[in-house]
């Protein structure tokens, strides 16, 4: 950017983004001045160095070995709990102690050890202290030899992790029920199990100044758009931050608009969902210690799709998607707003019988409709929030107290009309029709926005609110892909799997939105239905 443009922008920036100017000062580049330190050759010096840099932790242990056949002294060093100690003693300590082989001192003793004596599956030779420390923290064991300024890394880390089980947040009736776990190795294996393609790429990199977590960027070479993969990698590389705990946090960090409430990436624990996404040309990001994969680019429609849509008949899938997306989504956002519009504005829109009933139930209520709605909605959200965090045993009680007693009492105390209670109940239920929970908070927040507009302009206000929300959603992009893609008319063919789910024969191609390299996913013309097929008509 030229200076002139900078000047032109500065006035505006100081006006609106004063607080952001400070953030944009680049962090000091320490790496440039760092000198790689070679490992000390003496065992004791090495021990001292490690103890000093790690601060004499209780879980750091050293084991000295003096093999009878060798002249040197060896030292094994590892962090307790991170390494497989059985493997260490069985395949490293025991062979060293019992070896009869006399090694030639002229060759590299550590490499010779790795090749001839130690029986672990994976090892590596390192030279610098930084590497040694990193490997130690990654949960690997180090084997030092006295008098040599290098060490042998024995890859025997073994973290504690859950076993693979059903994802709790994304339960389905049909389909595989295995979900990702917090261990990156397991996740990688699960993915490989699904896609046995040689072109499945699992590019790993490190993230976090202090956490140094492993990140895997998974995509299928030959399908995924290469510049987009590079952009994702570039973004992750340029993220210079202490620690990232979960992919959800990562997705928040990667967003350019900080005030955006819509999820611009899809996090999923389901293996089938992620592998399907990869096959559409998307990119999945796995993070160590996070049980979910983050899929980019994500579209608005993705949050209304469920795996079951593809495991059942397109007609059924369309019906249920309609339920979720058209009815569930709109009711949860707009029903309270419509209540406000109908009770607070000149009547006559809806049936006079209902208006009569509403008028009768409104008689004697202390609050005006807007306050009544806000009061009940906030109460509803408090109950939802409370029941989410509470242990299950107590949670049931909250629901009963909140739902039954409070609602009934509010009506009897004339704090709310009984139609309002129904409205709130419907809102609470339709909240949950969203298929991906990442979209839920946005919907819960938007209902207040709609109520606000409805309070001012009635039904017209709801139309205005819908316009602005649509425009806002329409302006979002996820890695260059417009958020409303597939639903808006850039590629007509992609509409086949949006609100309506067409037959798989219409969906033989990958979404063109993602600009995939290989477009076809099913050559339906090759399909031969023989007489014994499922469908004999």
């Amino acid at each position: 950017m030229t200076d002139m443009e900078n000047d032109r922008k500065s006035l505006w920036k100081t006006f609106l983004y004063k607080h952001r100017e400070k953030e944009s000062t680049p962090p000091p580049e320490e790496d440039d001045y760092k000198v790689e330190q070679v490992l000390p050759s003496s065992l004791l010096a090495a021990k001292e160095m490690l103890e000093k840099s790690l601060g004499k932790p209780g879980d750091l242990f050293f084991r000295f070995i003096k093999p009878p056949a060798l002249k040197r002294k060896f030292m094994i060093c590892a962090l307790e709990g991170l390494v497989d100690q059985k493997e260490l003693s069985l395949h490293v300590v025991e062979p060293l102690q019992t070896t009869k082989e006399v090694l030639d001192e002229t060759e590299d003793i550590l490499e010779a050890l790795g090749e001839k004596i130690i029986s672990v599956s994976q090892w590596e030779k390192i030279d610098t202290t930084d590497e040694a420390k990193n490997q130690l923290l990654d949960g690997n064991s180090l084997l030092f030899a006295d008098g040599l300024s290098s060490a042998l890394v024995i890859f025997n880390h073994e973290y504690e992790h859950r076993t693979v089980n059903e994802p709790i947040t994304e339960q389905v009736i049909r389909g595989p029920i295995e979900g990702f776990v917090e261990s990156l190795q397991v996740n990688r294996a699960l993915l490989r199990k699904h896609i046995k393609d040689e072109r499945l790429r699992l590019d790993s990199m490190r993230l976090g100044r202090r956490s140094r977590s492993n990140v895997i960027v998974a995509y299928v070479d030959g399908i995924a758009n290469k510049p987009r993969v590079d952009a994702v990698k570039e973004d992750i590389k340029s993220l210079d931050i202490d620690i990232v705990h979960d992919v959800a946090e990562l997705s928040v960090l990667l967003q350019k608009r900080s005030a955006n409430i819509f999820p611009l990436s899809m996090t999923s624990e389901r293996t089938d969902k992620v592998s399907a996404a990869l096959m559409e040309g998307r990119i999945a990001i796995f993070l160590e210690n996070s049980p979910a994969a983050m899929v980019v680019p994500a579209l608005f429609i993705d949050f209304w799709r469920t795996p079951e849509d593809y495991y059942s008949s397109p007609v059924l899938a369309t019906f249920f998607r309609f339920l979720r997306m058209i009815f569930g989504n709109h009711l949860t956002m707009m029903l309270p707003a419509f209540y406000v519009a109908f009770t607070n504005f000149p009547s006559g829109i809806i049936g006079s019988q209902l208006i009569m009933n509403m008028a009768a139930s409104r008689e004697g209520i202390a609050f005006p409709p807007v306050l009544e709605v806000l009061f009940m909605l906030i109460l509803l959200d408090i109950i939802l929030e409370a029941s989410q965090r509470l242990p299950r045993l107590v949670g049931g009680a909250t629901t009963i107290v909140g739902g039954l007693i409070l609602g009934q009492a509010a009506v009897q105390a004339k704090l709310a009309s009984n139609i309002m209670v129904i409205v709130v109940a419907v809102t609470a239920i339709t909240n949950l029709t969203v298929s991906n929970l990442a979209m839920l908070p946005a919907m819960r927040l938007l209902k207040y926005y709609f109520v606000l507009w409805a309070a001012f302009f009635g039904v017209a206000g709801i139309v205005f609110a819908a316009t602005t929300v649509l425009a806002y959603v329409g302006s979002l992009k996820s890695y260059g892909i417009p958020y409303l893609s597939q639903m808006s008319a850039i590629h007509l063919r992609d509409v086949f799997d949006t609100i309506y789910v067409f037959s798989p024969k219409m969906r033989t191609h990958r979404p063109r939105t993602f600009k995939t390299i290989d477009g076809q996913r099913w050559d339906s013309k090759k399909m031969k239905y023989n007489e014994d097929s499922l469908d004999d008509v």
Binding site: N344, F345, P346, S347, G348, R362, E363, G364
Partner: protein, 453 residues
Amino acid sequence: MRSLTFFFIVLLFLLTTGCWDSTAMERRALVMNIGFDVGEEKPLALVLDIHNAKQSDANTMVGPPGALGPAVIAPRTEGTTIDECLEEQRRNMPRRIDFGLASAVVITEDAAREGIFPYLSWIFFHPNVRNNSYVIVTSTDLQKLFTEEARVVEGTMGGALLVSQLMADRKTAALTRVNLWEAYRIQLDGTGSLMVPFVRSQEGRIYYEGSAVFDGDRMIGLLDPDESAFVNIIAEERMPYLFTFDFIPPEVKENGQEDEQVPAVEERQEVQEEQTAEEQVQEDSEEGSSPEKGHLAEGDREPKKEQKQSNGVEGRPEREGKMDVPDEEASRMTLRFYRVQRSYDIEKIGSQQYEANIHVHFTGMLSDANPPQVRYDRDDFDAMNEQAAQALEKKMQAVIEKIQKELKADVLHLGRYVRPIDIREWEAMDWFDVYPEVTINVSVTVRVLGATR
């Protein structure tokens, strides 16, 4: 971020604009019907039919007894203009007047005879009043009409008691229905005369007593229910319709015994009963003797009749079947028409001279009032067609004579068809001067398809 900031600025700005229209529901008086009358002291009177929500069945949280007030309040104010009347209503009403639910505009006969256009145009341009509400003329006092405790199924719920019959059966011929916008249009383009339902309230029941006919915007006369049914059939092709006439079987006629037999038309005297047919069902079965009683329930009882048909062979032996002996020479025959096709053929025969040929084709069946024992053959049906057509034609000519010569009102909306023939001439002439001179020929054909059973 920039656009979001801008958006919040805009939103803040909007929120300062205030909400003018927002009034909580319990602060509004819901007007169910709007009534206009001639004032006693001032020229105009406005009566509003206001529903009391506290009194509604849906109000489950009733307060102390006696605190609820009447179910309907109908305050009456007088003034020189409608706005003045409304202003006074506003002064006296502790709530904001909301016309959103108003389903009917009721005008008293006195007011209607003085001209209704000011009312129509005032309501039409009054925001919030539904333009698809109905226009009704009544001979009953408006306050009595609105507040009288209803004794029908509808109850006070919805306050739409007045129009519930208009809403219940949209197609029946006997009820005249006219919407506000329609009435306004007829006033404005002058292609016809307005015909408005005429109602009377008695002991909590609404009786539809034919229609009020207007010349311009002044009410000039009344058509009885049967006449207005004919007008509705011709003008709007409304159905179903029951028609009773004297039928002479062909073999009797061949014998030459009844040479001068002119089928006498049986007038239906109690059409108003059929309007409140829901009430009538019980009484009918109790009385069950009068031959006409059973014929009349075309409108509301229609579905029941259909059911009976599908039920199969067994009829209703205690009813009309007995009244006619089959071997009598002239039997009284009732036809139930369910389809009518009307065509206007209007020709210009000279300067400002028009000739209208109206052809009406009825399709119907024998109603269940006819003797079930008789089996009719092809010849019988042919004779039936012919005789029914003759009877209908005669009746229609009488009606047309009345509206054209006596009332001089174009309720058949012939003007709408005359207008496009020569629109230059139409713009130059006054249709209502020409209309009484127009030759109107009516021809009727009837096709009876069989018996209902």
